[in-house]
Symmetry: C2
Subunit: 246 residues, 2 copies
């Protein structure tokens, strides 16, 4: 006989919750950017094992074993040599973890005055330790916020997520009046750098020029400040166009 990893009933462990959340984010992430139709194979939303192992931070074989166990408990569909996809049940659980993560981040920034660059690792642990009752108290205290400090949408208790599907700063024509809605990179250095330039959700900004030769995007902030971003950074700042007048 060979070894079979088994997930017992009821309560998911922190590890299982993290795997599900990661699968969800990779699934959603690949749908968000410009592939999906551009993808060669028929792998609609399938997350490759190598990719999953990388984002979870484990060796490939570890991810394979875990995904088999998740499949046995009906949380994912697993196609060997192809990838994983969440089942409805798995997605529901993933969204619940994501809700906890983002509400915690928002609470830490809004109430406890922590910096948006440092709350992610904290929430990564707290999301597994907090009860539904406490989560509800936090949600109520914050007044049912829709987004976290990075502009990421907070799933509802019922498991719905707003899909803002905004444009990235790099895709926007010059001159448009914009508002930053979301920042896609959680790394502390990047977040601190953006905050230093005033580029947080809510910031009013206009693309002055996109210099494709130099690979830079020049911005004008509402504070009259000028900021120049590289294309990689400009791809990580999502914006919406602002209504004229107000």
């Amino acid at each position: 006989m060979f070894w079979v990893y088994k997930i017992s009933q009821a309560m998911a462990t922190a590890t299982v919750e993290d795997y599900l959340k990661r699968i969800y984010l990779e699934q959603a992430g690949s749908a968000g950017t410009a592939n999906r139709a551009a993808d060669g194979d028929a792998a609609g939303g399938l997350v490759a094992m190598g990719q999953l192992a990388r984002v979870v931070g484990v060796a490939p074989g570890t991810a394979t074993a875990m995904v088999k166990a998740l499949a046995d408990s009906g949380l994912v569909n697993y196609e060997p040599y192809a990838g994983v996809r969440l089942t409805d049940h798995g997605e529901k659980l993933a969204l619940h973890v994501l809700r906890r993560h983002r509400l915690i981040e928002q609470f830490l920034v809004e109430v406890l005055d922590m910096d948006w660059s440092e709350v992610h690792p904290e929430a990564e642990r707290l999301e597994h330790a907090i009860s539904d009752r406490l989560l509800e108290r936090i949600d109520a205290y914050l007044g049912r916020p829709r987004t976290d400090p990075h502009g990421d949408p907070i799933p509802t208790a019922g498991g719905r997520v707003a899909r803002p599907e905004r444009a990235a700063l790099i895709d926007v024509r010059a001159g448009r009046r914009l508002e930053v809605t979301r920042v896609l990179d959680q790394s502390p250095d990047f977040l601190r750098a953006m905050a230093r330039h005033g580029l947080r959700p809510g910031a009013k900004v206009t693309v002055a020029r996109h210099d494709e030769a130099a690979g830079t995007v020049h911005l004008k902030l509402s504070s009259r400040r000028s900021v120049t971003l590289g294309e990689a950074a400009a791809r990580k700042i999502l914006v919406k166009t602002r209504r004229r007048s107000n």
Copy 2:
């Protein structure tokens, strides 16, 4: 060769933290009540393995294995067939866990409006997930409180604990003007019952009569309410005598 459970370097796991905290509480608890000198043997502060297994909630053999590992890492002194005692290093760690536990409880009650009967299990998980930075923010937000919702003293960041050493309600002479300082039973039912009677830390109370034949203690609250407690309950409510005047 036989199996040796090993605690690796640096960060203690949640399990290790709970064992240390439990050993500390059993050690301190037995010193607090009326034994110590009344104890037959020379086991000054030694916690028996059976007792430890019971309070941690594991089988006796499990506790033995863990305690050996704790001893190997210098967190406890272990005398086979006699018991365990924390080393200075182990006590420091235990007090840090206890500090996290109690600050979290206080925060949940004061800020998030949870009931004092439900915060204990929540803190039992959160105490292992929270960073020192976040703990400091919580402490600051609360204004450096000295006690948690149950009146238990919060150890300082430096590892000092106030040892109030108050009298229990059952030991107090009738007529004295008293203030409830601490409630020693964390069970939700007990806490809810006491709260219903108005018996929380800060409550002003007087012993009207201690009926030893009936095994009851009759109280008068400052709200003029009369409450009758059994001796077991009266042993769990700690009080201090109030200064005359104010």
